[in-house]
Amino acid sequence: MLKISREEIIDGKFERVLNFFRSRSLWMLYYCTGCGAVELPPTMTSRFDMERFGISPMATPRQADILLVTGYVSVKTLKRIVYSYEQMPEPKWVVGFGSCPVNGGIYWNSYATINQLDKYIPVDISIPGCMPRPQAVIDGLLSLMDSIKKGEAVGYKKYQMNNEWYKKNQREILERTKPVLGGKK
């Protein structure tokens, strides 16, 4: 299990000054794995206007602060998500978007998807719903901003400190050779 809890590694005083700036300017990389991506254009454009909180889309993992995993995660995409996540410079945060990254959603018993994203990369906030409306997305991102400001969103530190645990979980899925449904290979 995880060795360190979130409360033990909250940011110090100096970091919190910088955290104010970090929370007011979130650049996001959205990994469009599933249907959730269709809710992002209305969130960004005129009706709901994400940019007034300083949240704007960015093109590559190097520039991004938050990684949005929008929808179910199949085994193949998990590898790419881990690559993208590890390419992002710190501090970085992950938003699980919709019910699929929380518990598998309607794909919970599928052989091709994973059920809990939090076991493979540290998710800072989850926005449940199938799909979450733009209001819910903005609400979720605002509470992420709040926890960044307080220095409580420290998923990236958890990933560093418990790297072995996360890597073990990733290997279990990515290097799986036995057929899941028990057929002959």
Binding site: F21, S46, Q63, P89
Partner: protein, 298 residues
């Protein structure tokens, strides 16, 4: 000693002013989309955040290139007189500014292509091709000023426009003004000419591999570029500024016009952009040059 302080202060001022114009431009663009838009000081927050992040350097050339890009443009900013003020005594020579400005882009090109990402190579190729596109009309405009005044000093060109709107080069050299407006659009990388950034096509081109502090430096470089280019435009065509605030207001007005026009058009391909710049802006600038040569020296 005083001059050193002046240079440092002026550099910070140029970057801060550029960031302010960027923020205003974002707000104006948002209002045109019928959005509320980010606050005007959003760009300052972005820069502080960029510098507070960890960054990934690929090699020494990348560090050197990023610094060279910023310092080249700051060097160009040193020759832009604001209401007669220059950080150290000079006459604001346009030739030196034209010489120093490409150093900024070349530094950027060297720095980002050292990262080895193929998308940066495409982006830089596009940026430098576009530079050929706007440098030719702009150099022709500078030549037309030389034909009219036999001087390349920004201070004396500003003095020649004193005494109201009728004396501004915007009114006395209308063809050159339009040509410079189009060339400025290309310089600032605004919408019809934003082929080098193109986030949906080549993943923001030169900035693909820039993280943390490098992205912050790129932001500051863009801010300085905005300051230099709009400043040059204000000094050449809009009569400069008799005081500090007037100059700033004119620069901001130019940038607001640019970012509003930017919302009108879709993106040109790079060869279309170069062709458009040469044919429209280049021919207008040539017409102005011929007119100035016929009228003769003032």
């Amino acid at each position: 000693m005083m001059e050193v302080l002046n240079v440092i202060g002026y550099s910070f001022f140029a970057m801060a002013a550029g960031l302010l114009y960027m923020g205003i431009g974002r707000k104006v663009a948002a209002r045109l989309h019928r959005r509320y838009g980010p606050p005007v000081w959003q760009c300052y927050i972005d820069v502080v955040k960029c510098f507070s992040r960890k960054s990934i350097s690929h090699n020494f050339i990348m560090d050197l290139g990023s610094m060279m890009g910023l310092s080249g443009l700051l060097g160009a900013a040193m020759f832009i007189p604001i209401a007669g003020f220059l950080p150290f005594p000079s006459q604001g020579p346009i030739i030196v500014i034209l010489y120093l400005m490409p150093i900024g882009y070349l530094g950027m090109a060297m720095g980002v292509s050292a990262s080895g990402n193929p998308l940066t190579a495409i982006g830089i190729g596009r940026a430098l091709t576009l530079m050929i596109g706007y440098e030719v009309p702009f150099a022709t405009i500078v030549l037309s000023f030389i034909a009219a005044y036999s001087s390349t000093s920004l201070v004396s060109l500003q003095a020649a426009q004193a005494g109201g709107f009728a004396n501004w080069h915007m009114a006395t050299m209308p063809f050159g003004f339009v040509a410079a407006l189009i060339a400025l659009m290309g310089m600032l990388g605004k919408k019809p000419f934003d082929t080098m950034i193109a986030p949906s096509e080549i993943a923001s081109g030169p900035m693909v591999e820039l993280s943390g502090k490098f992205l912050g430096l790129a932001f500051l470089q863009h801010a300085t570029a905005i300051f230099v280019e709009t400043g040059l435009f204000v000094l050449l065509f809009l009569g400069g500024g008799s005081n500090f605030l007037e100059f700033i207001a004119k620069q901001a007005a130019v940038y607001i016009v640019m970012s509003s026009l930017s919302e009108l058009w879709a993106r040109y391909r790079v060869e279309q952009a170069t062709k458009f710049l040469w044919i429209s802006a280049g021919s207008l600038a040539l017409v102005q040059l011929v007119i100035n040569m016929i009228i003769g020296r003032k």
